[in-house]
Amino acid sequence: MNGWHLSKRLLTMGVVLFAVSLLTYGLIFVTPGDPARTILTQQMGGQSPSQAAVEQFRVANGLDDPFPMQYARWMGDVLRGDLGQSYYSDQAVSAMIAQRLPNTIALAVASMLVAIVIAIPAGIASAVEPGSRTDYAAQLGALVGISMPNFWLGYLLIIVCSLWLDLFPVAGAEGPEYLVLPALTLGSGMAAVIARLVRTAMLDVLDDAYIRTARSKGLRERIVVYKHALRNALVPVVTIVGLQLSYVLNGAVVVEVVFQRPGLGTLLVDAIFARDYPVVQGVTLLIGVVFVVTNFVVDLTYSRLDPRIELGGEPT
């Protein structure tokens, strides 16, 4: 990777983030539902505000300005490092994000680990003996994992693990014991997707000439599978794991609600429903950054896993 490539990537990242912010700002602007009315309704405990109240709120929050002016004002603040103030909470957007980010990171990392711990062994076991009982069992498991809705699995785990077995608390976000069930719920769905991918990728690789070579050299099967095949099979898997991040954030909304874990997912969804523009914008921007950075890291990982892939080089 050379400097030229890096700066090109950084520039693209900037453009992508700008486009994301403009798009979300634009989308929320054309979405029906007046923020002044919606927010006042919440302030009044669900009651409809009067027209006078709506007008007063619009003026106070600059909502009567035209779209470009509002956007420019927001962008100007962001460039100065200020994500703004929630219309509804008394907190700054950055404080709200900072408060929830640890929960989201913990959930994302834990569920990703659950997914990988389940998926990679299952995928390999399937691929090593395609058509075997292990293979069918793993594939059936994957099918169940994909098909099971998050909220349903969540309740199931609560009833079995909390109410019957008394192993974990039902819901909350206080200590590590609160993380287990949400991570299992979210991770099992991802595990299913990854396991199937590992299986396919491994099957491809195991047919390759260098595997035959390795085997004919008399290397032990273990070494062949784990050292030679797995590493190459991981390239597409890493891509998907990166993309699964979006799944973590999507699925997290349901899991966050069921397990009462305030995180970015619920923050974003609640803010959209509440028309709390500054929060929506702040979280979207953050998610945008996370995606762009993840993709970048995934790219870097390629060349580590498979040195034949050179970033920014001529296609081979």
């Binding site: 006042l40 009044m44 009067s50 027209q51 404080a95 608390p169 200590g175 590590p176 993380l179 609600v257």
Partner: protein
């Protein structure tokens, strides 16, 4: 002790995953015995009373000038007495011996910044308060732009909760709820929970609960499961269908109580077919509200007659004529209005009798009730289409354009004054969108605002209720019943009719 066992079991099973997960939060669950935890669907979003005062008031951290008693009428609060001095002037006598949680004494001078801030806010914009001054150390004077008898009721609202002058920053923001209640703010997690402790200097009887934790848990089932697993002492607003199974348990007590909240249909009076009153009446005769209560609400709740449930408030007009379930009468009314049977439906001048009902799903059961209405209206010849949208979208579309009917749910007495009817039907100030205009209704509502005499007011509100019953801009369907469940050891809990306060300071927990 349960906590410890749980953690021991856990260490063998889940610690690997969580440890690797890089979770750095420290779990501190010690001493939970003295903690009373209440779970409710509403998350704490702000420490500013103007925004979230209703929640801080519910958990007795903040208190307003006046309160609401168990009969849903205005009662003394931080003001012990109040009176209308002349048409546009009110006086409030402040309670003696009250200090804010930071030690500041409550006087006319110290409540002024908080009260002015509240009445200047958007939330209170519809209340015509012109000025608030101190008359003497213990007396406040409020002037209104016009005679306004509902003012005391507005002084019970969450937005008007009083905070210490030290809680208000120079820029006017409030980021610590320093109030006067029996519980005082300790800490919070925005959007999820609040911890408060008993205030030993409370001006009334001190709370027996030492530490109060409020958790905002949006999911109904999670609230219920947490209560069953002893993680909550009180779970608020559970689905009606959980009552039967909760009542079977010895360790849980379920409370059900009616609240002044209604589900209703708002008709568009400016477009066909509901511009015709006969068609609106046909709807009310076609809908079987008993069936809705029995089958969808699990028997909890009751069919609505007018806007106010007479069991909860005596502002309900006497002898309002209910619209009985009578499909035959509905068919006759439709025929009278020119809608003749045609095939399975009805037509008039070639146009089919088809209507669209808009509703939203953030209140449970509304879409299901819409489906039952769809079927029941179908039986008398309506072709009904249901659209479920976000509530703010409905408001916007219904306010700016034509629609047929909206199935909505709202409190009919969220501040304890029947002037609330103005929000529903006054031709200029209504926040519902029927497009109803009736001069007599407007005049009576305005007159009732100008007098403080209860009988005179009641007469006018009763007349308005009778006119509305005849004109039907809004068809009242059912009233609400709330379900609150507590652990069995929780005693002396008394549900409040408009939920303005949980009054947990009166509650004892035997376990």
């Amino acid at each position: 002790m349960i906590e410890l066992t749980r953690r021991q079991k856990l260490s063998g099973l889940g610690a690997g995953i969580t440890g690797l997960g890089g979770y750095w939060a420290i779990s501190g669950t010690g001493g939970k015995e003295d903690v009373f935890t209440v779970g409710s669907p509403w998350t704490p979003d702000s420490r500013d009373p103007v925004v979230n005062g209703w929640l801080w008031r519910r958990i007795s951290v903040l208190e307003p000038l006046l309160t609401v008693d168990y009969d849903a009428t205005v009662a003394p609060g931080l003001a012990t007495d109040w009176r209308m001095v002349d048409d546009e002037t009110w006086e409030f006598d402040l309670r003696e011996g009250v200090t804010f949680h930071d030690g500041t004494e409550l006087t006319a001078k110290t409540v002024l910044p908080s009260l002015r801030r509240a009445f200047d806010s958007s939330s209170m914009a519809s209340v015509p308060v012109k000025s608030i001054e101190t008359a003497d150390n213990r007396t406040l004077t409020m002037k209104t732009d016009e005679p306004f008898s509902p003012l005391p009721a507005h002084c019970t609202r969450g937005s008007t909760c009083l905070v210490s002058p030290t809680a208000i920053a120079d820029d006017g923001s409030v980021s610590e709820p320093i109030g006067t209640g029996p519980f005082q703010f300790e800490s919070w997690n925005q959007g999820s929970s609040i911890t408060a402790s008993a205030n030993s200097d409370y001006h009334g009887e001190n709370a027996s609960i030492e530490t109060l934790v409020y958790e905002g848990i949006t999911d109904d089932q999670t609230r219920r499961l947490k209560l069953e697993n002893d993680e909550l002492d009180m779970a608020r607003i559970l689905p009606n269908e959980t009552v039967d199974s909760l009542e079977l348990r010895d360790d849980i007590t379920a409370h059900t109580y009616q609240i002044p909240r209604a589900r209703y249909l708002v008709f568009d009076l400016d477009s066909s077919p509901f511009a015709d009153r006969r068609v609106r009446r046909a709807v009310m005769h076609a809908v079987d509200r008993e069936t809705i209560v029995e089958n969808l609400l699990n028997g909890l709740g009751s069919p609505a007659v007018g806007p106010f449930p007479s069991d909860v408030t005596d502002w309900a007009a006497d002898d309002l004529e209910p619209y009985e379930h009578d499909p035959g009468r509905a068919r006759d009314l439709l025929a009278e209005a020119g809608w003749e049977p045609n095939g399975t439906g009805r037509t008039r001048d070639g146009d089919p009798l088809s209507v669209s009902i808009w509703t939203y799903d953030t209140r449970p059961l509304l879409p299901t009730i819409a489906q039952v209405i769809q079927t029941q209206l179908g039986e008398v010849g309506f072709e009904v289409d249901i659209e479920v949208m976000e509530s703010s979208t409905i408001k916007e579309r219904a306010t700016n354009g034509s629609f047929d009917a909206v199935l909505w749910s709202n409190s009919v007495l969220w501040y304890p004054d029947p002037d609330r009817l103005s929000d529903f039907v006054h031709s200029e100030t209504a926040t519902m969108f029927s497009g109803y205009e009736n001069e007599t209704v407007d005049r009576r509502l305005e007159e009732a605002r100008r007098t403080t005499d209860r009988d005179e007011r009641f007469g006018r509100y009763a007349e308005v209720q009778h006119i509305l019953q005849r004109d039907l801009p809004i068809g009242w369907l059912t009233y609400y019943t709330n379900v609150v469940a507590t652990r069995a050891g929780v005693e002396a809990y008394r549900p409040h009719p408009i939920e303005s306060c949980y009054h947990l300071e009166n509650v004892t927990d035997q376990q």
